[in-house]
């Protein structure tokens, strides 16, 4: 009998088999925080927030800095430069929607860095049999991985939205406006959840297709960039605007517009969505989600099939 034998005891405690997706989420999320690139991107988020905060401060105090007609002239100059989100004459929905546009690139990159290795790493190191030799159902694993990838981008986006929205109200409106605008905040949160959830699902699915995070990341980028570039060209040349629904980013944008009701004339950087309708957009996002979940599930095979 080995001398270290005395360390082993029988386990007679409780076992909880209901929420096994949670450990998967936690242990997917935790290593993401150790990556330097993730923190560099988070600094990008913070810099963006800082710039917007300075913008709010400066435009709200413009009247104090510059007296009389000059301040109105300065405000018009700012608007002419395309910076249209500052000022009390636009809606909160427009502000929150326009905040999202430049952040989308950061969001992609964050999901890419966080999720490219989420499942490919498990496949590469033959970890799937370790997971599935336990009472873990495939949906536990799938939900756990997608949430693990989505938590950080979702947190960053939600924080950005609320931080900007609250500042906007604080600078230009009385406090009671927060309560009247609460539905807009909720809509913004739903949009962010849909956006992050979809992108994380796509990333997890590509990650499940490869044994290398690099390959999964490249495939993810190609998928989005290719569809975003090619589909509008195709739609324009055929004059079939519903074809834009083939591009999930365009469809997501239409959903965002439906939720936040922004004044698109005030936003110079909005995505051109042509005549793409909301039902087509919802069908597109739901269809892509189902497809990627199906692919992900198929790739969770523990046993390699011998041909």
């Amino acid at each position: 009998m080995p001398i270290y034998d005395q360390t082993f005891r029988r386990y007679t405690g409780t076992r909880h088999l209901q929420a096994l997706w949670w450990p998967v989420t936690w242990y997917t999320f935790k290593p993401i925080l150790k990556r330097k690139l993730v923190w560099i991107l988070m600094v990008g988020f913070l810099l963006y927030l800082g710039a917007i905060s300075v913008g709010f401060f400066a435009t709200a105090k413009l009247g104090e800095f510059i007296k009389g007609d000059q301040s109105e002239e300065a405000m018009r100059a700012i608007r002419r430069e395309g910076v249209r989100m500052f000022g009390a004459d636009i809606s909160l929905g427009t502000v929150l929607y326009s905040v999202m546009q430049p952040l989308k690139m950061l969001l992609w990159l964050l999901v890419l860095v966080a999720g490219a290795g989420a499942i490919s790493s498990d496949r590469r190191h033959n970890a799937l049999p370790l997971y599935f030799s336990r009472p873990l159902k495939p949906w536990h694993y799938t939900v756990g991985k997608i949430l693990g990838v989505a938590i950080l981008p979702l947190g960053a986006m939600l924080f950005t939205q609320w931080f900007v929205g609250l500042q906007y109200i604080a600078w230009y409106f009385p406090f009671s406006a927060f309560f009247t605008e609460l539905p807009t905040f909720v809509m913004a949160a739903i949009y962010v959840v849909v956006l992050c959830g979809f992108i994380a699902t796509v990333m997890a699915s590509f990650s499940s297709m490869a044994r290398s995070a690099r390959v999964a990341g490249v495939a993810f980028l190609i998928f989005f960039v290719l569809l975003e570039r090619l589909v509008p060209l195709l739609a324009r040349s055929t004059d079939m605007w519903e074809m834009l629904s083939l591009s999930p980013l365009h469809s997501l944008d239409v959903i965002g517009q439906a939720l936040l009701q922004p004044n698109l004339n005030e936003i110079s950087s909005s995505v051109f969505t042509g005549g793409l309708s909301l039902p087509y957009s919802i069908m597109s996002v739901a269809g892509y989600t189902a497809l990627f979940l199906y692919v992900l599930r198929k790739n969770l095979r523990v046993v390699e099939v011998v041909k």
């Binding site: 005891r9 386990y11 409780t14 242990y27 498990d122 970890a127 159902k137």
Partner: protein, 315 residues
């Protein structure tokens, strides 16, 4: 008594390729050695027991539960140590083992406590804060064993547990397996192509070849002494061939010893006349017995014989 594993005429395959055919086995408790050459279907059998593969025919029950229909309940009571190098990179070993415990339903605190304990038990106490990717192959094997036992399973499925280990590491690993079975009350299925591993720890040996059960042996030495042939290595001074002929003529199974030039392996049936017949045969063959050494029938003989028979049957 509850039958841990009950397989009835089981056929398993990948697509149209049959890997196991007509496997019938029963296993109550203890250590069962699953022995066979590479590709015999050992790992496939383990995967079937966990419900990873759906049988093409026959029935499989584990803990009296049908698999794969009730695989989740089965999986909550087994521990599995895969053959391949399997781990989750980017975390310390203690975190990895605690994670695996949580996936078996243990609460967070208990999982971490158990992770420390089992890593100490398998001899990785000093190295438990290191990441798994920095481990040697032998250490990774120990870590795999730790994750398999951390949730205190009733049945442990070990697939080639001594792969890549040095002789000392192998001995310690087999000691742990023996201890888990004898003192910790776990039943174990030890899958190996190494005769020595199975011979040392298993009390029931199942030899698989070409997807079929070739031989089932209960390694009960007391029974072997009374019911089975006793094997002797007999070394004679000269006339070995005449001695062999004389024994065969008397209806005794005998063959030249492969590794001893003047040796003959003789299987003496239990009871009378015992070894006296050897001396009588030697006298008749005009030679003298120089040395008489009793050998229990080694598993190697069973294995080689069983797989050899299977090969002949296919010719």
């Amino acid at each position: 008594m509850l039958m841990l594993i009950d397989l009835d005429n089981l056929d398993v395959g990948y697509g149209s390729k049959a890997v196991l055919s007509g496997v019938t086995l029963r296993f109550e408790k203890g250590v069962a050695g699953l022995l066979g050459p590479n590709g015999a279907g050992k790992s496939t059998l383990l995967k079937t027991l966990m419900g990873f593969l759906r049988p093409l025919g026959g029935n499989a029950r584990v803990f009296d539960l049908p698999v794969p229909e009730r695989a989740m309940e089965v999986r909550s009571r087994i521990g599995y140590m895969p053959e391949t190098e399997s781990f989750i990179p980017g975390m310390s070993t203690v975190q990895f083992v605690a994670y695996m415990a949580q996936l078996s339903g243990l609460p967070n605190d208990a999982a971490m406590e158990r992770a420390h304990e089992v890593l100490q038990y398998v001899g990785l106490g000093e190295a438990r804060y290191r990441n798994l990717e920095t481990y040697s192959l032998g250490m990774k094997q120990r870590a795999k064993l730790a994750q398999a036992i951390v949730h205190d399973p009733a049945l442990l499925l070990l697939d080639e547990p001594t792969n890549g280990m040095d002789p000392e590491g192998r001995r310690e690993m087999l000691e742990l397996v023996e201890d888990l079975a004898q003192n910790k009350g776990m039943s174990i299925i030890l899958c190996s192509h190494l005769l020595h591993d199975v011979e040392n720890v298993a009390d029931q040996v199942i030899v698989l070849g070409n997807g079929r059960v070739v031989s089932k042996q209960v390694r009960d030495h007391a029974q072997a002494a009374t019911d089975e042939d006793v094997i002797y290595l007999v070394r004679v001074r000269n006339n070995r061939d005449e001695f062999l002929q004389e024994l065969t003529g008397r209806g005794i199974e005998a063959k030249p010893a492969p590794d001893v030039a003047d040796g003959v392996l003789v299987a003496i049936p239990p009871g009378e006349p015992g070894t006296r017949v050897l001396f009588a045969a030697a006298s008749q063959a005009g030679t003298l017995v120089r040395r008489l050494e009793q050998r229990r029938e080694r598993l190697e003989d069973i294995f080689v014989k069983a797989v050899g028979e299977l090969g002949n049957a296919h010719l």
